[in-house]
């Protein structure tokens, strides 16, 4: 099995697809942390909310309606959260933030159960991306290739924005030293709000693209949370590069671990995380040197 090229290509694509999904989630979380040291455990719940909105709208407007509106809905939800809870807890320390967002998870899980019920919801893959594509001798679902492409596109756009535009330079300055950035006339608070809302929108986007692949259940936010946290801790809190590296490491270790070392697979990623924390407590590619 392992000598076959097709096997490696297939697993490679699976790993990439998982990595890109995790990247969409972790990039928002990590930049939010880097910029304002805010820990949002409810990020996974925003992803679940995105998936539910996409699944509901898919029945009315078709897949693309959900695809474009879910990020907007989640961004609106993020803005509402920002003004009610996040802003006042900005300087409250990690403990209070962890607890408040942990409480939010409880509320979010039950709210989705209340609105959408306990049963998993499935939606169909859009017609454009139905079927399989033959790639290096492997039949691979086109929709999963679309997820990979979308992830890479978002990565490209974010890299361009962060490295080439003025707002990107301001965000990098804020991550590096928020007080100094404020002294230079940057409205760090407004920038944080912007980053927070964009991060929420990306989580919603991740939920919308994941909805046809995974089943949409109330606890999907809780299930994705731990992998997302592992990604950003391995990669280093606050950095885009770290989110990319962490997502790829998680995707590949998880996918290849599951097929090559099935007995150890789930322990493997945690052992890797522990090793990273021991050797480099700040993660592999932290925002600050």
């Amino acid at each position: 099995m392992t000598a076959d090229l097709g096997f490696w290509v297939l697993q490679m694509l699976n790993a990439l697809q998982l990595s890109m999904l995790l990247f969409l989630l972790s990039v928002g979380l990590t930049v939010i942390f880097g910029l304002m040291h805010f820990v949002n455990l409810a990020h996974g719940s925003l992803y679940a909310f995105g998936a539910y909105v996409a699944a509901s709208l898919a029945g009315v407007l078709g897949y693309w309606g959900g695809f474009f509106l879910a990020p907007l809905a989640v961004a609106a939800m993020g803005a509402a959260l920002y003004f009610t809870l996040i802003r006042s807890q900005r300087r409250a320390g990690p403990m209070a933030q962890v607890l408040i967002t942990f409480g939010l998870i409880f509320v979010a899980v039950d709210a989705t159960r209340l609105v959408w019920g306990d049963l998993p919801i499935g939606i169909a893959v859009p017609a454009v991306f139905e079927g399989q594509l033959s790639l290096l001798g492997v039949e691979y679902p086109i929709y999963r290739l679309f997820i990979i492409t979308l992830g890479l596109a978002v990565l490209g756009v974010l890299t361009l924005i962060l490295s080439r535009t003025q707002i990107g330079a301001m965000i990098r300055a804020g991550v590096d030293n928020d007080q100094m950035a404020a002294c230079l006339g940057i409205n760090v608070e407004r920038m944080f709000f912007l980053v927070f809302v964009v991060g929420c929108a990306l989580a919603g986007l991740a939920g919308a693209v994941a909805a046809p692949v995974l089943s949409v259940t109330p606890d999907m936010g809780l299930q994705i949370l731990i992998p997302t946290l592992i990604v950003i801790v391995i990669g280093g809190l606050g950095s885009l590069k770290g989110a990319v590296a962490g997502s790829l490491i998680f995707g590949f270790v998880q996918t290849f671990g599951a097929v090559l070392l099935p007995t150890l697979s789930s322990v493997l990623i945690y052992a890797l995380l522990a090793a990273v924390l021991v050797a480099r407590p700040q993660g592999l590619l932290p925002a600050k040197g």
Partner: protein, 326 residues
């Protein structure tokens, strides 16, 4: 610094008297709830010891409890040990693991510490979940209750078991209080306030943190043994990070760093859980809202709230005591 104020001593005495009185008044269901409260109380005292006094906010205490429960069950059913040595073994294993986790995480602080402990907890969860030796997803049944027939006590009776559980809570409390009074406990509080200074004073920081974490882990292991004996069935769910998260919620509801507060929190949490879940299947949402309200109110849980209220009635001391940031 840990101290017994008259208020806290009164609360403790009332709790002890009230719970013992309740064991004689309650029916079967009440006694089961009492045992559940006792198990949670032991876990949250253990967590408050490190989180409240040492600033080590751990998200792996659920896993340490689970390790205790699994070690006890395996030692008692597979290895055929009787209950007491099996408990000792389970507690020792939890303590050893906690020491290792504490030593490894000693360099991390704040959110990194939380994440690191979360990772170790999840590692334990995945290991138990996947390992066929521990029954995987199905869990394990058949954990025995200690045989106290020699002194005429039958622990299969739920009243006797509730009293036994309450006594173990008392033992846990005394161990935690003694730890905090010892040099180690003072070092732990000092580390929370200013780690650099204690390092300069010659303290081996990682060893102090790891030892405190090991004591806390041993207590969590005890809670695990009691949980296994209570339900006589264990599943990997015991090790899940949400158990650790709930334990943290309980500590916060009761009052972080007060030791007596978490016990009150445990009572509130279990009673609320049963009352609200009887009314609505969405009890988690209510708990979440209460948690958010408590944290946003900036009161230190029930005990912190009452103490702050009482303090405003008294004349203020001239020098304000430095308050530890939670």
């Amino acid at each position: 610094m840990f101290q017994h104020t008259p208020l806290r001593l009164t609360t403790l005495a009332l709790l002890a008297a009230g719970s013992l009185a309740y064991t004689f008044a309650a029916g079967f269901f009440g006694l089961e709830i009492l045992a559940e409260i006792a198990i949670l109380a032991i876990l949250v005292i253990a967590l408050d010891l490190v989180a409240g006094f040492g600033g080590m906010v751990s998200l792996c205490h659920g896993a340490l409890l689970g390790v205790g429960a699994y070690a006890f069950t395996v030692a008692a059913t597979e290895a055929g040990l009787s209950a007491a040595p099996a408990m000792a073994l389970a507690i020792a294993l939890s303590a050893a693991l906690a020491f290792a986790i504490g030593a490894v995480c000693a360099r991390s602080t704040g959110i990194y510490f939380i994440m690191a402990t979360l990772a170790f907890g999840q590692m334990g969860y995945s290991f138990v979940f996947q390992s066929p030796l521990f029954g995987g997803d199905d869990g394990l049944a058949g954990a025995p209750r200690p045989d106290l027939g020699a002194i005429g006590i039958d622990l299969t009776d739920s009243r006797a078991f509730a009293i036994y559980a309450i006594l173990l809570v008392a033992v846990t409390y005394l161990v935690a209080a003694a730890t905090l009074r010892s040099g180690l406990g003072r070092s732990l509080v000092g580390l929370h306030h200013n780690e650099k200074r204690l390092r300069a004073l010659g303290l081996t920081v990682w060893r102090a943190k790891a030892t405190a974490f090991a004591i806390s882990g041993a207590l969590a292991g005890l809670a695990g043994c009691l949980a296994a004996q209570h339900t006589q069935y264990i599943s990997p769910g015991l090790l899940s990070w949400t158990v650790s998260g709930e334990a943290l919620v309980v500590v916060i509801l009761g009052g972080l760093g007060t030791l007596v507060g978490p016990i009150l929190g445990a009572i509130l949490f279990v009673v609320l859980k049963h009352e609200i879940s009887a009314l609505t299947p969405y009890w988690h949402a209510i708990v979440g809202l209460i948690l958010i309200a408590v944290v946003m109110s900036r009161a230190n849980g029930v005990v912190g709230f009452v103490e702050a209220r009482l303090a405003t009635r008294k004349p203020q001391p001239l020098v304000k005591e430095a308050k530890a940031d939670a």
